[in-house]
């Protein structure tokens, strides 16, 4: 009897190992490293006893699109990929991503209504869902409270309109002490578009109508900030991270940037700082802000769509860990962010959460990189004085019209 039990246990064990050998393997490509969510969550999902093993590959930011496109074209695509949100439509519109609308409708973990409108819009193409937002971020106005007080400004009423912002920058600007009024990024890269597009959107424009009166006013406002020396000329070539560095060191009194700066600012800034919503064109105007970060998507030619979606469901179920463990904001309005105990950071988070309600996706459009380039060119041509703001934006509009007409 004893032997028989032993034998059956051995049989069960060997059956188990057979089942294990037949595990489904799904491949996930993402740029997250061991300190970021995707790699950890993928590992946890792989370790679960669900018959699915994950083969995780870390890819570089610059290679995401070209690597995965090449892989897709040659039938070597991964099952799941994390893609930057403005590039989502490039894949979705060409049928490279799996339509997950019905899976989401049947899912308890991924509920479309729980997501912020901006991130959800970025995974949507033709009213169908082609992915799940992975995390999100946006931009708002950081300001140095100490410098506000020194310049006689009230830190409890930060600039609310564009005119207020320019006036505050002028009051705070102090070249003798190497302090610029404001820092932001007008770089000729996606970062420039990321920072400028919200200004156009707040004033009634958008990526498909960029030469509106409001957008011209926005660009003129940027030009004033640069021409009057209220922002460093290096704004033209500096990214958001480096621009915020000058704020942290006390060389700029305000900066427009996102929540990814919070931890560094807590460490570096030797002054009191706060965050305010992005100023609007005039009182009562509509709000808008940029929407950043990545989306999850399943490639259309996957052999294991169910298993892949199961992985995304697991990731979504862990969204409440994104902030406390990895410092990223979940793209969902139904998750309460627990207080960190660091007062300025917690206050800032509430502002970013409010700003997220107004965050708008870039596009979505399959030719986004070209549209973005037209906007970057306009910003740079106007700010370097080679064209007037009107002409530069008209030229951008003409390029964008040609792209949209294709």
């Amino acid at each position: 009897m004893k032997y028989m039990i032993g034998a059956s246990v051995a049989a069960l064990l060997s059956m188990g190992s057979i089942a294990h050998a037949e595990d489904v393997t799904i491949t996930i490509w993402s740029l997250d490293d061991e300190n970021q969510p995707a790699m950890n969550l993928a590992q946890e999902f792989s370790d679960m006893d669900n018959g699915i093993t994950v083969d995780y590959r870390m890819i570089q930011f610059d290679d995401v699109v070209t690597e995965s496109m090449r892989a897709f074209a040659t039938g070597q695509a991964p099952d799941i990929i994390a893609v930057d949100n403005p590039e989502h439509a490039l894949f979705a519109a060409r049928g490279a991503f799996l339509d997950v609308t019905d899976m989401v409708a049947a899912s308890d973990e991924v509920v479309a209504e729980n997501y912020f409108p901006g991130p959800l819009n970025s995974v949507t193409w033709d009213e169908r869902l082609y992915g799940v937002p992975k995390a999100t971020n946006t931009i708002a106005l950081y300001y140095n409270v100490d410098l506000f007080k020194a310049a006689g400004l009230d830190p409890d009423t930060p600039p609310a309109t564009w005119d207020d912002l320019v006036a505050a920058a002028r009051a705070l600007n102090d070249p003798d002490n190497s302090v610029y009024g404001i820092a932001f990024s007008a770089k000729a890269s996606e970062e420039g578009t990321f920072q400028f597009l919200p200004w156009a959107q707040m004033s009634g424009g958008g990526y498909d109508h960029i030469n509106t009166e409001g957008a011209v006013h926005a660009l003129e406002t940027w030009k004033t900030l640069l021409d009057d020396g209220l922002a460093s000329p290096d704004t033209l070539t500096r990214g958001q991270w480096d621009s915020t560095g000058t704020f942290n060191s006390g060389n700029a009194a305000m900066v427009i940037s996102g929540p990814w700066e919070l931890n560094r600012m807590v460490d570096e800034a030797q002054f009191e700082w706060r965050v305010a919503l992005l100023p609007v064109p005039e009182e009562g105007a509509a709000r808008a802000s940029a929407m950043g970060d990545f989306n999850w998507a399943i490639f259309a030619n996957t052999d294991h769509p169910q298993e892949a979606f199961q992985a995304l469901e697991y990731f979504a179920s862990q969204d409440d860990r994104l902030f406390p463990e990895f410092g990223q904001l979940p793209a969902r309005s139904d998750i309460e962010l627990p207080p960190t105990g660091v007062a300025p950071k917690d206050a800032a988070l509430q502002v970013f959460l409010e700003q997220l309600q107004y965050a708008q996706a870039r596009g979505p459009h399959p030719e986004w990189p070209k549209i973005s380039k037209a906007i970057q060119d306009a910003i740079q041509l106007a700010l370097t004085g080679q064209m007037t703001s009107v002409d530069a934006l008209n030229q951008a509009q003409a390029s964008i019209d040609a792209i949209l007409a294709e």
């Binding site: 074209a73 490279a96 070539t237 500096r238 080679q386």
Partner: protein, 300 residues
């Protein structure tokens, strides 16, 4: 069979194998990509046809579209300025240093070796270092210039459209000077000393000796250095990526950086390949000069 083997071990066959191995290597790893690149410039390429070789043929459409872009001629002109000024600067400074170290003072060979440090550093590191030197608000260069009274206001080397290209040129001259100096030093060491002795006996001044002996004797080395300089300068990509990113408003954009931007930023691979094809043609002309001047060297 035996004859073939003996020919390979000791005969014409051995020579053929020696020539064949690098030839196959070159064709595989340089020739095919080049041909593929040229082919792409005549095709319609999008992200979804990246894995294919035969795509729709569009004739000269990519070329026409490229020439019609408003930034085409400014960028080509930037490329010409970048190449000429970089090579000129590298050569003149490199030649000066080579002549200087050739005088053979104590420790000259050691210091000459130290100069190579700039050449072995990766372009991105050099770019990052020069970023701090060239920074507008807190740059070392601005500090130096204003303390000796050359400038009264900070120059925004990277962000001012009048200076951005020069920021990269200055860095590139610094980067390439050491390489020029080493090659030119070798050339200088090859000039027979008796020529100078004879000239001295005839009463030639140092300046005369330089113009009538050094310069003519260095002709083939100079040709090689300049041709190589052209090739290296046209390949220079890291400095643009690290310092200006081609901006602002394309004021420091050059062909090689633009090709990368088109291909990997806007995913317009066909136009990127078109620029590369134009550059291949230019580099080939330079290569002909290089091969000719080195051949001359062997005979001389």
């Amino acid at each position: 069979m035996k004859r073939i083997r003996s020919s390979i071990i000791d005969g014409v066959g051995f020579d053929l194998v020696l020539v064949g191995i690098p030839l196959v290597f070159l064709i595989l790893f340089s020739g095919l990509p080049l041909v593929y690149n040229v082919l792409m410039s005549f095709q319609e390429v999008d992200l979804f046809s990246l894995g294919e070789v035969f795509r729709p043929f569009v004739g000269l459409k990519n070329y026409r579209a490229l020439f019609a872009q408003p930034e085409f001629w400014p960028i080509m002109w930037n490329t010409v300025i970048f190449v000429f000024c970089s090579i000129g600067g590298q050569f003149i400074v490199g030649f000066g240093l080579a002549v200087f170290f050739n005088t053979g003072f104590r420790g000259s060979t050691f210091i000459r070796g130290l100069f190579l440090v700039s050449w072995v550093m990766p372009g991105l590191v050099v770019g990052a270092t020069w970023n701090w030197i060239l920074a507008g608000d807190f740059g070392v260069l601005n500090y130096l210039l204003s303390s000796i009274g050359v400038i009264s206001e900070n120059i925004f080397w990277r962000s001012d459209i009048n200076y951005s290209l020069w920021a990269v040129i200055i860095t590139n001259i610094w980067l390439g000077t050491a390489f020029n100096m080493i090659l030119l030093s070798v050339g200088l060491a090859g000039i027979p000393k008796d020529l100078y002795e004879a000239a001295s006996l005839d009463g030639a001044t140092a300046f005369q000796k330089f113009w009538t002996i050094t310069v003519p004797m260095m002709r083939s080395t100079t040709g090689a250095v300049i041709s190589l300089g052209l090739i290296f300068t046209l390949q220079q990509f890291d400095l643009f990526a690290a310092i200006t990113g081609g901006g602002p408003a394309n004021s420091s954009n050059v062909a090689q950086y633009w090709a990368w931007e088109l291909s990997f930023r806007q995913y317009d691979f066909a136009r990127g390949a078109t620029i590369s094809t134009i550059m291949i043609a230019v580099v080939m002309v330079a290569s002909v000069f290089y091969v000719r001047s080195t051949r001359h060297e062997v005979r001389g």
